[in-house]
């Protein structure tokens, strides 16, 4: 079992780890699976194919996708600027990136709702100038999820950009590449796997996000109702079966998506020669 026989403490630490893991994570999570066994297939299909449930899935996944894409784009620019350029206040902005991680989601939720609601500071501005309403629409959910997603993208891309050897850029440029060619053929392919990881983390977090979304979303059925909220609503109506069926479906879809993204990442790494 243990390679270095001199090292003590394997039995107590692994024992504690396994017991604690089982008690806190594995047994509670398995209830979700066992509970849904009590449903027969027809009931399950009936719950999931309900129009309101389907539209909440559509809202959750499409807003999380849009937010992860936008955060991926801007997050890359932010990471690039923070690594490559120097400007006044850079350290300050650098420290701020983690703020959405540290700020409790409920606070983020009420703040974003206050800013973007039709009478709010930015909400009014957007309605008056562009006629776009953000709050109580899917767009509001996207805004909240972008806020949540920023650190995921920036913090995964940043270390890769930092470690990227400028000698590769020098080699490319001495062979006659233009700046755009250096970026698109040398830098970007090397950063892409990290960017995909950041995107995947942001997307996975966005699908399950609750606190920062519910205040700005307005939670209008068929329009801006997200899956986590529907689970809570079902629970509050003591519809345990409905809540369980929706939760399990969401969990399975998220895991499958994460698996697919991991495969994609593996493929990208292999193609760019990082494996």
């Amino acid at each position: 079992m243990s390679r270095s026989s001199i090292m003590p403490g394997f039995r107590p630490t692994i024992g504690f780890t396994l017991i604690y893991l089982s008690l806190i994570v594995l047994i509670p999570l398995s209830t979700l699976v066992f509970q849904s066994f009590q449903l027969n297939w027809d009931d399950y299909v009936h719950i999931i194919t309900n129009k309101r449930v389907l539209s909440s899935f559509r809202v959750s996944f499409s807003t999380a996708l849009a937010a992860a894409l936008i955060a991926g784009f801007f997050g890359f620019i932010v990471a690039w600027v923070l690594v490559r350029y120097s400007f006044f206040g850079k350290q300050f902005f650098h420290a701020l990136i983690d703020f959405p991680f540290a700020l409790p989601t409920a606070v983020a939720g009420i703040v974003l709702a206050t800013i973007f609601q039709p009478s709010g500071f930015l909400g009014k501005l957007l309605i008056d100038t562009f006629g776009v309403q953000v709050a109580f629409k899917p767009l509001g959910i996207v805004m909240a999820l972008i806020f949540i997603s920023i650190p995921f993208v920036v913090r995964t891309v940043e270390p890769v950009l930092l470690e990227f050897e400028t000698s590769m850029e020098e080699a490319a440029s001495s062979l006659g590449a233009t700046r755009w060619q250096v970026f698109s053929k040398v830098i970007f392919p090397n950063v892409l796997p990290a960017l995909l990881t950041g995107f995947a983390l942001a997307f996975a977090r966005g699908v399950g996000e609750y606190g920062s979304v519910i205040f700005i979303a307005g939670n209008i059925p068929y329009v801006s109702e997200i899956v986590p909220l529907l689970i809570v609503t079902k629970l509050e109506q003591f519809d345990i079966e409905g809540a369980t069926a929706i939760a399990l479906t969401m969990l399975v879809i998220s895991f499958v998506l994460l698996l697919l993204i991991n495969l994609l990442q593996y493929w990208v790494r292999k193609r760019s020669g990082q494996l």
């Binding site: 806190i24 420290a95 700020l103 409790p104 409920a106 606070v107 233009t178």
Partner: protein
């Protein structure tokens, strides 16, 4: 062909290479402008708004909102939750990191994946699973009612859900670090006759202390700020099962804006303190790497 016959101006070549290595000024400044306005819009503005709204009716209204009994009860419950959660998950994190990085065994990568599992579960689902276990209709529901034990809609349920949510934080900081460090230093101490416990305290702990503190810090921030999971198991009973984030929600939904943002200002302050400490710890870790 023509490129070969043309005389090459070395200065021009160097200039061209420089162009390919550096971004043009206009591009650099516009990217900086985009990045700075993006961060300002999504991060600075929300932070500033919390303070403005909390003080919108003056400092006295702010203090009144904070010293309300329900707010104080919410703060107490939040502190209690963190006080139970953080030590538990810290002990677990150290034990798991020790077992995973100091020994070889079957299923190690599976174990590492399972430890990360709570990160990929929606907070609402994290709350739901405890309702399924301990709720009135849950697996242990009848037994709990018969013995008059309350977990759901009580502090213990809130603590359980928080322990689940913050489960991976400390382990996640320690495992990569201890993996990278290797076990030579500990083996040396052990072969010189130090006991296992002494080796851990005198050799391992000083090496991992900054990463450990970092993990504890993140775990604490999340424990105090968790909303989704806690909101499912709490039942929102004022003064009893409202943590500070839930108290903020209740006040906001009742259009008590000063009350909501007064609570929010404490949580935002907590986030700022967390960020400052985090930056300090990152410096310490960087310095420590420089020691080698």
């Amino acid at each position: 062909m023509s490129a070969v016959t043309q005389p090459i101006n070395p200065a021009k070549l160097v200039a061209r290479q420089q162009l390919a290595l550096q971004d043009a000024d206009w591009l650099r400044w516009s990217l900086i402008a985009i990045a700075v306005s993006f961060i300002s819009l999504f991060i600075c503005l929300p932070l500033g708004l919390v303070i403005v709204k909390a003080l919108s009716k003056g400092v006295e209204a702010y203090w009144a909102a904070l010293s309300e009994p329900d707010t104080l009860a919410a703060i107490r419950l939040t502190l209690l939750t963190a006080a139970v959660t953080v030590p538990l998950n810290t002990v677990f994190g150290v034990a798991a990191a020790w077992a995973i990085t100091r020994f070889e065994f079957k299923g190690k990568s599976l174990l590492t994946t399972l430890i990360d599992l709570p990160f990929s579960v929606s907070p609402v689902i994290s709350g739901l699973i405890f309702v399924l276990l301990f709720g009135a209709e849950g697996w242990f529901g009848d037994w709990l009612i018969a013995h008059d034990v309350k977990i759901i809609f009580a502090a213990s349920g809130i603590i359980l859900a928080t322990v689940f949510i913050t489960f991976p934080f400390v382990a996640r900081q320690l495992i990569p670090l201890m993996q990278e460090m290797g076990s030579q230093e500990e083996e040396a101490a052990l072969s010189l006759g130090a006991s296992g416990w002494k080796t851990f305290c005198a050799v391992t702990l000083p090496n991992i202390k900054w990463a450990l503190l970092y993990g504890v810090l993140l775990c604490n921030a999340r424990a105090m700020g968790e909303f989704g999971a806690v909101s499912v198991v709490s039942g929102h009973i004022r003064g009893l099962t409202n943590t500070l984030p839930l108290h903020v929600e209740v006040n906001y939904n009742e259009y008590n804006i000063v009350g909501a943002f007064a609570g929010a200002s404490i949580l935002a302050g907590l986030a700022v303190v967390t960020l400052v400490l985090k930056t300090v710890l990152e410096w310490q870790q960087a310095n420590r790497k420089g020691d080698f």
